[in-house]
């Protein structure tokens, strides 16, 4: 007994010693003489691959967004604004855009920024040995394909007019020009020109010491832990008000708690539970919600005879209470979707013009039985004389999506359809979708800010998991790319969206809002569908 109490006493002393002084340390500055430091949270540590054209995770992208800049970008209202380009002009024939680049911009190492850097950056992505995933952004530049295949040394579509003017020409009209090409991050030619492109992704020296033109430059990177950027005093847009920004990994379980504790200055919110949100607002934390271009949908295998007719797919949409999924699982922080575009997109048609497919089990049954082969009797749906059974595959990870699978199962059970739920890893689900091995599946889709959706809906497109093979769609998607201005493209996409709403090749579920929490001491930020990396020199600490 004596030994035990001695041990206990020892442990108490140990705990006391360790806990004695920590929290009173002046870790976060509140004096105006102290440096202004912001702490940003993410759910995984940065990996150190700070090359914007090669990186593949947001955990690195969050850092390069502070360091690198593009010629133009979307502002919080989803309009383009100039960053490295002061102005840009689309040619009469819609084939080329001339960018007037900003003068007096210096790279973080003091070298001047010129049109050569722009040309080099776009050619880097098109280089035959380039290993990253972004070649498709530049492949339409005139002469890029030949350069990519090693047939030429130069790209004729990249024409340097003078040191700060570049004219970029495409080989055909590219509707998504400004997005695909204009928003590419620009790298420094003088740093990268002698680097072997094939092994650049493994060049740790360069990738962990990025040199950009943005308001912040790298100051420290600790693998598996965090990265720190500091203000770039010679920034062309004015000296940033914040001295340093720490980007560190936090656990999903404790992130909100740390936010309330004042240890973090901004955090992406993934849980919209009102109780949690109330705790945050009670701590004077600013919660900002915005529309997004991401959506959740239920893929339908249109190759299967039971789903080949549009009425059967419309029936599925009517048979699922999507509003309940939005209200109950997403606490209303989402919009039910009925066409390929989200409300954040300029291509989204007037809701008056499309079918809302409101939850209506009777209409669902009616629609099903209007298709040959379906029969509904005694509360059971039959297809070709046997009870109709469907397998619904869905990935683990997204809580609301996992729960919506159960709602779908119950809803369809109510109209006599047996749904077998199969949960799997995301990687396994994409494999099933690619090999056409599914009836229905749930997946998320982060469409690009541009309206082009050829990569999803064109016959044989890579992400055309549903097997949509439709000539009208192919034509309309081509048509939409024949103009660069939004005004001319809008009617084409609107018309196509109305058609897609009627043919409903997959069942769109909802468009979740995205949200960010901002600490009360953090000021000068703006948040929109394109994120919050906007005029970062104005960020400040109260």
């Amino acid at each position: 007994m004596k030994g035990k109490s001695r041990l206990l006493a020892l442990m108490l002393v140990f705990v006391f010693l360790l806990s004695s002084c920590g929290p009173t340390d002046p870790v976060t500055p509140d004096d105006s003489s102290d440096p202004k430091i912001l702490t940003f949270a993410q759910f995984n540590p940065p990996t150190g691959l700070f090359i914007p054209d090669i990186l593949t995770t947001d955990y690195d992208g969050n850092i390069t967004s502070l360091i690198f800049e593009s010629m133009i970008a979307y502002d919080p209202n989803m309009e383009f604004y100039g960053i490295l380009a002061e102005d840009w002009e689309v040619s009469e024939d819609n084939l080329s855009v001339t960018f007037d680049l900003r003068e007096g911009v210096l790279w973080h190492d003091g070298e001047p920024f010129t049109a050569e850097d722009v040309k080099f950056s776009l050619m880097f992505v098109g280089h035959p040995d380039y290993t990253g995933p972004r070649y498709s952004n530049v492949e339409n530049i005139l002469g890029m394909a030949a350069y990519h295949d090693g047939l030429s040394d130069d790209v004729e579509g990249l024409e340097i007019i003078d040191s700060h003017t570049i004219k970029i020409t495409t080989d055909g009209i590219l509707g998504s020009f400004l997005y695909s090409i204009g928003t590419r991050p620009i790298m420094a030619k003088h740093i990268w020109e002698d680097v072997d492109v094939a092994t650049s992704e493994n060049n740790i020296e360069l990738s962990t010491n990025p040199v950009g033109t943005g308001p912040f430059k790298i100051s420290e990177f600790a693998a598996d832990s965090h990265a720190i950027v500091e203000k770039y005093t010679d920034y062309w847009g004015g000296e940033p008000k914040v001295d340093k920004i720490i980007l560190k990994a936090v656990a999903v379980d404790t992130a909100q708690t740390q936010m309330i504790n004042g240890e973090l200055d901004t955090l992406i919110l993934s849980d919209f539970n009102p109780d949690v949100l109330e705790l945050l607002t009670n701590a004077d934390i600013d919660l900002r919600f915005t529309n997004t271009v991401t959506s959740q949908y239920m893929g339908v295998n249109t190759r299967l005879p039971q789903f080949a007719q549009k009425e059967a797919r419309q029936a599925l949409a009517c048979g699922i209470n999507r509003q309940e999924i939005v209200d109950e699982l997403l606490y209303g922080r989402a919009t039910v979707l009925n066409n390929p575009f989200t409300p954040a997109s300029w291509a989204d048609p007037d809701p008056e013009l499309i079918d809302a497919y409101e939850y209506d089990p009777e209409r669902a049954i009616e629609l099903f039985t209007s298709v040959d082969g379906y029969e509904y009797k005694d509360g059971v749906m039959y297809y070709n004389n046997s009870p109709f059974e469907i397998v619904l595959k869905y990935p683990s990870g997204n809580k609301a999506r996992e729960q919506s699978a159960v709602v779908i199962q119950q809803n369809l059970q109510d109209i006599g359809i047996e749904v077998d739920l199969q949960i799997m890893e995301f990687a396994a689900l994409t494999a099933a979708a690619e090999t056409e091995n599914f009836d229905l599946f749930l997946m998320g889709l982060g469409t690009s800010f541009d309206a082009d959706q050829k990569y999803i809906w064109e016959t044989g497109a890579g992400f055309n998991y549903c097997g949509w093979d439709d000539e009208y769609t192919n034509n309309m998607l081509d048509e939409g790319l024949k103009f660069v201005s939004v005004d001319e493209r809008k009617p084409i996409y609107n018309e196509w969206a109305i058609y897609m709403n009627d043919h409903i090749p997959n069942v769109w579920l909802y468009n979740p809002q995205s949200a960010r929490a901002f600490a009360p001491r953090f000021t000068g930020y703006e948040f929109g569908p394109s994120g919050f990396y906007y005029k970062m020199q104005n960020w400040d600490v109260k």
């Binding site: 929290p23 994409t430 998320g444 890579g462």
Partner: protein, 322 residues
């Protein structure tokens, strides 16, 4: 002993080979690929770009070819580059290994130091009040999942009372040096270490207790008492030494899981260790990283088993390897 050791070490080679073939085949057969996660984040990536990425890692090679390529790389002394992070795997594992051992070795030592005396006490005072309390605590310790205990402690000690930091290994950008730095590190280590220790104490104490109880009722213990030996000598010299043999087995198994045993604790505390690395590697299908990580786990398990066998010889003079 020497020839036994050599034989055992040589035997490890075919075992390691077999394990590598099995793991390699399993992870290659698992559906999915390393870039599937990227689709959801960046669906405007063209199919051709996607295929290029897959081809660049030899995704479509037959499994034996893939295995040969991997084995060649290992024999050339390089573990290759991680697909998801593009870094040399040896560096990544080196860093993570250090962090995990920093957490798991103290936990192993502390929990053993606490568990064995408590187990002995609990056995010698069987059915006493103390025994009941310890049994109850042990049961609670075994039943409560590590992450749950972690969250509870975080709520009370770190959030409400603010005695400990919520997570991480150190205060970032504080620039501490010397004792200040050491204190900061220990301050961050305290909570995860206590959780890991608590969980391990529970199990190990129960093993010690039951093994001890079995011995205490043996005839030779009665003989020792009958010939007038002091209670201390009976318990610690005669009984404990025999009772320790099964405990050593349990300990050696924990030794093998030094690298992987802390995964839940690592996750809650954002402790950048081996457990989270291997877990993420598997869900990202980062094949070379999965292989390196799991092979290291397999190797540590084999070595732990060997150490256990050697330890037997020391604890029990009847066991001889000749």
């Amino acid at each position: 002993m020497k020839s036994y050791l050599i034989r055992r070490l040589l035997l490890m080679i075919p075992v390691i080979f077999g394990v590598s073939v099995i793991i390699f085949t399993l992870i290659s057969l698992a559906p999915g690929d390393p870039f599937a996660q990227m689709i959801e984040a960046n669906p405007s990536m063209s199919r051709a770009d996607y295929e290029n990425l897959l081809n660049s890692i030899g995704y479509y090679d037959p499994i034996p070819v893939k295995y040969a390529k991997w084995a060649k790389q290992v024999f050339s002394g390089s573990l290759g580059y991680s697909i998801s992070q593009k870094q040399p795997i040896a560096d990544m594992i080196g860093r993570r290994l250090k962090n995990t051992l920093l957490l798991s070795i103290p936990a192993l030592v502390l929990s053993t130091i606490i568990a064995i005396p408590l187990g002995v006490l609990s056995a010698t005072k069987q059915y006493s009040f103390l025994d009941y309390i310890l049994t109850l605590l042990a049961l609670a310790g075994i039943s409560i999942p590590a992450f749950f205990l972690a969250l509870l402690l975080l709520k009370y000690l770190a959030f409400d009372l603010k005695l400990f930091p919520l997570q991480g290994m150190e205060t970032i950008a504080a620039g501490y040096t010397g004792t200040r730095w050491l204190h900061d590190r220990l301050h961050h280590l305290a909570l995860p270490l206590s959780i890991l220790t608590t969980i391990q104490v529970a199990g190990r104490m129960r093993y010690t207790r039951s093994s001890m109880l079995e011995i205490i009722n043996q005839d030779y213990i009665r003989t020792a008492r009958a010939k007038g030996l002091g209670e201390k000598s009976v318990i610690y010299k005669h009984a404990l030494r025999n009772a320790l043999i099964p405990v050593i087995t349990v300990l050696s198994i924990s030794l093998g899981s030094l690298l992987s045993g802390a995964i839940l604790t690592e996750n809650v505390f954002m402790w950048p260790g081996m457990g989270t690395l291997v877990y993420q590697a598997i869900s990202n299908r980062d094949y070379p990283l999965v292989m390196a990580g799991t092979m290291l786990l397999a190797l540590s398990m084999l070595i732990a088993n060997l150490l256990a066998d050697i330890a037997y010889a020391f604890a029990d003079p009847r066991i001889r390897y000749d």
